[in-house]
Symmetry: C2
Subunit: 383 residues, 2 copies
């Protein structure tokens, strides 16, 4: 039905009406005092959401832009980077590091698994010469729905002395993340995720240790250059003409997040994901991430039942129920489907999504106890 | 008055209602067939507006992003770049080139002047060893309102053999620009200018000669990498999650441009700028760019009358008439003010702007024949 689409992909995600109404306003001058006031608010509230005392930079870019903004301010040709890879987005760090001439080593796990802290500890202990300058990692791997124990991993990295650079693109807002307490040196995220605004903005925060490495960077990229953004944050400004409409939308969305509370927002995402996982199992489907403790609170990857194809599930969900779920990426295409519960998602959405999934599987001839998924969600949400 | 602001700055510029209504819609999935169709349209129509047979890439970024996307796909450390500088934005090319380790030489002119083709010809003739790999230039210098004769300059560059990289951020849509016929090798622009949409998108087109230099680039920047965008254009897709809402707005704006016709749109801008310049002179104010043939059709820089300050002019224009005009940048701050006539501007807007400027100067005590500016505009527009 027209205008009824509900996005359950890992971004873009649903946007609240009050945010869209801000986005819909005619752009104002980015050097006006009016816009400066909005930026002041935004910069302040981003610190709250990122749980950091450090500045949070706002880039006009896709989430990948912030990933570039991390490494392109840190890496010199020939630097050693260790990348902890859970899937497609972990590999993106590898590609960005290589594009700057870094020597990249990977620790890679199979689909749905997470990094074993002991494996990391062992590898870093071997690096007695301290050649490894940067370790890249992912909190919530969007391609599989697996989530690393960032706190433990970053404490191991800190012990070694390398810089930890964390992809929080889908995790910030959805999952607990404490860069200052957990020794995360650089953390990035994107707007069309937990932030509940349309795509086009990306965020980065870096601590003092990261700034020291920045100072050694021979060719920081002009567009992402931290120094220019740092100066702008101090002046409630931006270095270049930003996506004004998205920033006014972000201002509204951050107010909403503050009102809900970041702890409460994290808890809501966790509740939803755990309920979804139970319901999927109750229906008899298999999850890509086996253990709850390794599951992302933003996105859940599911294997289709035997004999039913991912494209059929996706097209029926869309056609019959106006719900968009994501396909797998690359090698996982048509092997799994992914349901996002990211950002502006309430309990009703979860119930209707599981109901629609049940109806879809029922239509496609899957043999299961109809209603068991919804019953499970209802019970779980009441816990 | 609330919601009455009219932007006469060189971006953001006024946005048509039908474009804002597209921007205001809830984001759709960027991998959906629906969005792919929009992209197909957009890529096709951008070729029309850019007057090129080559692909036009769409970056989620400020206009400066497209400038980085030009040089960060071409320059290796130690490359020689010649930058033709009319002002602040000409200098931006210098900074970007330097950030990649290039050796940059400048030909710089005084405020309001343009590059003398003979000076360029002489400098390039001296380069018998063909050390100069890239020449950067600006069609319309936003900080002064001066416009180069790109056609002549690029033909001289082609004769030498260097690559011409042109900033068309404020000029594309506003001024005639024929990259294929004029031997422009790389041309960039931004969305919040003549394209009549909010800021957040940037455009780049490169020809075969530029692609050959790209192939030699050791470290193309991951986010701007031409190869990834080329592949995406062929698939009616984007490499990363784009600013979906701005692209649906762009789709609508490009349809409007096509309907008006790009030649007609250029002519409208030229008519407006020439009428504005005559009116300014009729009021007795001085223009920064002395000759019409060197004037940008996007932005006009004006010296305030003696004894009246730029901040007073700007604040009165804003407070009394809800018109925002720009201050000068850097050393020109408070020395000049700039009036943009870029994008969604009709004859009525021009009349009201000159009327408001007259009223402002009248209020601030400037002694002149009231009404002469408006009379001049009316007569000029009728020509």
């Amino acid at each position: 039905m027209q205008d009824k689409t509900f996005l359950m992909i890992p971004g873009p995600t649903p946007v609240p009406e009050s945010v869209m109404l801000e986005v819909a306003k005619h752009p104002i001058g980015h050097r006006s005092s009016e816009f400066s006031k909005i930026l002041e608010n935004v910069y302040q509230n981003l610190k709250y959401v990122f749980r950091t005392k450090n500045d949070v930079f706002v880039y006009t870019a896709s989430g990948t832009g912030a990933m570039c903004a991390a490494l392109e301010n840190l890496i010199n040709e020939g630097d050693h980077v260790l990348s902890l890879v859970l899937g497609n987005f972990g590999n993106r760090w590898v590609k960005i590091a290589q594009s700057r001439g870094a020597i990249v080593e990977k620790i890679e796990v199979e689909t749905g698994a997470v990094i074993d802290p002991e494996v990391l500890r062992k590898r870093l202990a071997e690096d007695t010469e301290k050649k490894i300058k940067i370790v890249t990692l992912t909190q919530s791997e969007t391609s599989t729905g697996a989530a690393n124990d960032i706190k433990t991993l970053c404490s191991i990295i800190r012990e070694h002395g390398a810089l930890s650079v964390v992809d929080g693109v889908t995790s910030v807002c959805a999952m607990e993340c404490h860069p200052d307490e957990w020794d995360i040196d650089v953390l990035v995220s994107g707007s069309q995720k937990g932030f509940m605004i349309p795509p086009g903005l990306a965020f980065l925060t870096a601590n003092e240790r990261a700034w020291k490495v920045y100072e050694e960077c021979k060719h920081p990229s002009f567009y992402w250059d931290w120094k220019a953004y740092k100066k702008s944050v101090n002046e409630n400004s931006t270095p270049f003409t930003p996506a004004v409409n998205l920033i006014t939308g972000l201002d509204k969305a951050l107010e909403m997040i503050k009102k809900e509370g970041i702890d409460e927002m994290n808890a809501r995402h966790k509740r939803h994901c755990l309920a979804l996982r139970k319901a999927i199992k109750a229906i008899g489907l298999e999850l890509v991430v086996k253990e709850d403790k390794n599951a992302s609170c933003a996105i859940t990857s599911i294997l289709p039942p035997e004999g039913i194809s991912v494209p059929d599930i996706r097209s029926t969900m869309k056609k019959d129920f106006d719900i968009v779920v994501a396909n797998g990426q690359n090698a996982l295409k048509d092997k799994i489907f992914r349901m996002g519960t990211l950002g502006f998602v309430c309990d009703r959405d979860l119930i209707s999504a599981i109901g629609a999934l049940e109806a879809t599987l029922y239509k496609l001839g899957y043999n299961f106890e109809l209603g068991k998924g919804v019953a499970t969600v209802i019970k779980e949400l009441k816990e």
